[in-house]
């Protein structure tokens, strides 16, 4: 009697154990992870014939525990279907662990495009695992509005200016991020760089630059580093630098900050160090050549003197 009771008790226990073990696998998730896009639109209002336009739309979600397959449905007028391409294609997977997935959309306006406003949309639909009778999936629709015109539109933003730490003997360096939201090429026209001591009390040098600035294509962003040669040897230590960039006479960005000059080899790779060495030692080389020339002249003069005395 006791044995059968224990046997029944064991059966109940085993059944309960396996039920609890399997339960999480058979019960679907009770809520869908949030899903969307940022920005949720593509508005290109200043396109011209032949323009290339690029925009990144981030597909975003709060729960990134699993891969998420995405299918893109384009709803566009036939005229502009061939203008739009996506780097990722129309079917891709947002990998597990990724909460913000960038989708690069490229628009190439043909040279023979008609002037006008073109509208359509693209829908990113997620494809989750099947759950229940009607599986619900989330999507995001991106309205697209393109305007092709003839106007010149300028929109420049300096996203970032950083005065970089450098090595002893290098010229001051400035890292710049230039964002061109307009439909014409943009670049800086000039820049000034002022170099101060560590307390910003004494100005050591000023450098003006009027050329050598890279051009940034319409609707794109470029990041680059600009050297400002100064007539001052920068030894190891701290200095203040103040840089201002101009378009015409208008300042479009600037930064004043303390930067470090580090000992040689701290930042550069072996090749860079070698080049840096050559650059620094050039002065020494000139000095040596000068001495040798003087010695040569001295030797010739001495020889001629002897000859004259002999004759």
């Amino acid at each position: 009697m006791v044995g059968s009771f224990l046997s029944g008790y064991r059966q109940i226990f085993v059944t309960l154990f396996f039920t609890l073990l399997v339960l999480p696998l058979v019960i679907p998730k009770t809520s869908w992870a949030a899903f969307g896009a940022s920005p949720p639109f593509l508005n290109a209002s200043h396109l011209v014939k032949g323009a290339k336009y690029e925009q990144i739309i981030y597909l975003v979600r709060d729960n990134a525990e699993e891969d998420l397959p995405i299918k893109v449905n384009l709803s566009l007028p036939d005229t502009i279907k061939s203008w739009i391409t996506m780097e990722q294609g129309t079917e891709f997977i947002i990998p597990k662990g990724v909460r913000q997935f960038p989708v690069k959309i490229l628009i190439q306006v043909p040279q023979n495009a008609g002037l006008g406003v073109y509208s359509g949309s693209m829908t990113f639909g997620s494809q989750p695992k099947e759950a229940g009778q009607v599986t619900i999936s989330l999507g995001i629709e991106i309205p697209i509005n393109l305007t092709v015109g003839t106007d010149i539109y300028r929109e420049v933003k300096v996203g970032l200016i950083k005065l970089l730490d450098i090595e002893e003997g290098w010229s001051p360096r400035v890292y710049v991020k230039l964002e061109n939201g307009g439909n014409v090429l943009e670049k800086f026209d000039s820049a000034t760089y002022e170099l101060f001591d560590a307390f910003k009390d004494k100005r050591y040098a000023i450098s003006q630059k009027r050329e050598g600035f890279p051009e940034v294509a319409p609707f794109s962003t470029e990041e680059f580093t600009i050297d400002f040669p100064v007539d001052f040897h920068l030894g190891v230590g701290q200095y203040w630098g103040s840089v201002t960039f101009y378009q015409g006479d208008t300042p479009v960005g600037g930064q004043t900050t303390l930067f470090n000059v580090l000992k040689r080899g701290s930042l550069s790779n072996p090749a860079g160090q070698f080049l840096s060495f050559l650059k620094i030692e050039t002065y020494g080389l000139y000095y040596l050549l000068g001495l040798l020339t003087l010695a040569g002249f001295g030797f010739i003069w001495k020889k001629r003197s002897k000859k004259n005395r002999g004759s």
Binding site: F41, G132, Q133, I136, I140, E141, L258
Partner: protein
């Protein structure tokens, strides 16, 4: 004459040697004292989010960094250990002296830095958790299209001397996103030739972004069991409860906007204020073979200005 000149040179040289030797050898004790005064700290190189546009994550906070450089001639510890820094990330329209708000103004007084020893300069970083409903500043959708987000860092040393600096302006993107209350709709068991009547299945959509959104619906695959299927239009929905079919709308295979459905942009995490339900019913036509029918419906968010 020559003798006179040589003699003068000798005397001058002798005088110089005597001056040098005896002057150098005489010892004078000079006591020195100096008072090191306080120098105000400086803040520079303030960079918001690495100089990039801010992209938020739906229904969550997103970590955004502000990096900056602090210099204090009395040593960086004069600020980092004995003083303090206050970093503020804010929408430009509210100004750096703003009151804390999850919509437009985040203030943090803790920072991580590499300050050590007697170094006068340190690079520091403050990390902010920006909510998904923070005010957007780009695109015509935003009320703040003409504004941007900015970081402001103020440093104070042990004596109370202060300095501050701001970053370049950065956009905060519009985010349109929704979260659903369930992953599936289950109608249960329905006999052929009958419908769900007054029993509705509910799916709640919650705004998980910083913009208003509407809802668009379509069936990506109709209810099917092997070769058998139930027409897509047999599934119907409404924003209020209904007795099948009543005033409900038939589901379609093409994307359709749900009439009268709009969820405004949240201003807090109180999700119930920014949620709306759609209610669902189903009719199974007479003659439909028995079986388990499955399908799929897509809920699509669409940004609204």
């Amino acid at each position: 004459m020559v003798l006179l000149i040589v003699g003068s040179i000798f005397l001058i040289s002798a005088f110089a040697i005597v001056q040098t030797v005896f002057g150098a050898s005489s010892t004078v004790n000079v006591s020195s004292s100096v008072t090191v005064g306080n120098a105000a700290p400086t803040v520079s190189n303030v960079v918001l989010n690495g100089g990039s546009t801010i992209v938020l994550t739906p229904n969550a906070t997103t970590a955004i960094t502000v990096s900056f450089r602090i210099n204090d001639p009395n040593g960086c510890e004069d600020v980092i250990v004995n003083g303090n820094t206050t970093s503020t990330v804010f929408r430009s329209g509210v100004g750096s002296a703003c009151s804390a708000s999850n919509l437009s103004c985040y203030i943090i007084s803790t920072t991580t830095s590499n300050c050590s020893g007697n170094a006068s300069t340190t690079d520091a970083t403050t990390t902010f958790g920006i909510y998904y409903f923070a005010d957007s500043t780009n695109g015509a959708s935003s009320s703040y299209d003409a504004q941007d987000w900015v970081a402001h860092v103020a440093a104070r040393d042990a004596t109370g001397a202060t300095s501050s600096a701001t970053s370049t302006h950065r956009e905060l993107n519009v985010l349109t996103a929704i979260e659903l209350s369930t992953t599936s709709i289950s109608y249960g068991s329905i006999s052929a030739g009958s419908d769900t009547g007054s029993t509705n299945q509910s799916v709640t959509s919650t705004n998980a972004g910083n913009s208003s959104t509407t809802l668009r619906l379509h069936a990506s695959s109709t209810l099917a069991s092997g070769a058998n299927s139930i027409a897509t239009s047999s599934q119907r929905y409404s924003t209020s409860s209904f007795t099948y079919a009543g005033t409900s709308t038939a589901l379609t295979d093409t994307v359709t906007t749900v009439s009268g459905f709009l969820i405004t942009s949240p201003t807090s995490t109180a999700s119930s204020s920014y949620s709306r339900a759609t209610l669902w019913g189903l009719a199974v036509p007479g003659g439909t073979p028995t079986g388990t029918y499955t399908g799929s419906t897509i809920f699509t968010a669409l940004w609204q200005q």
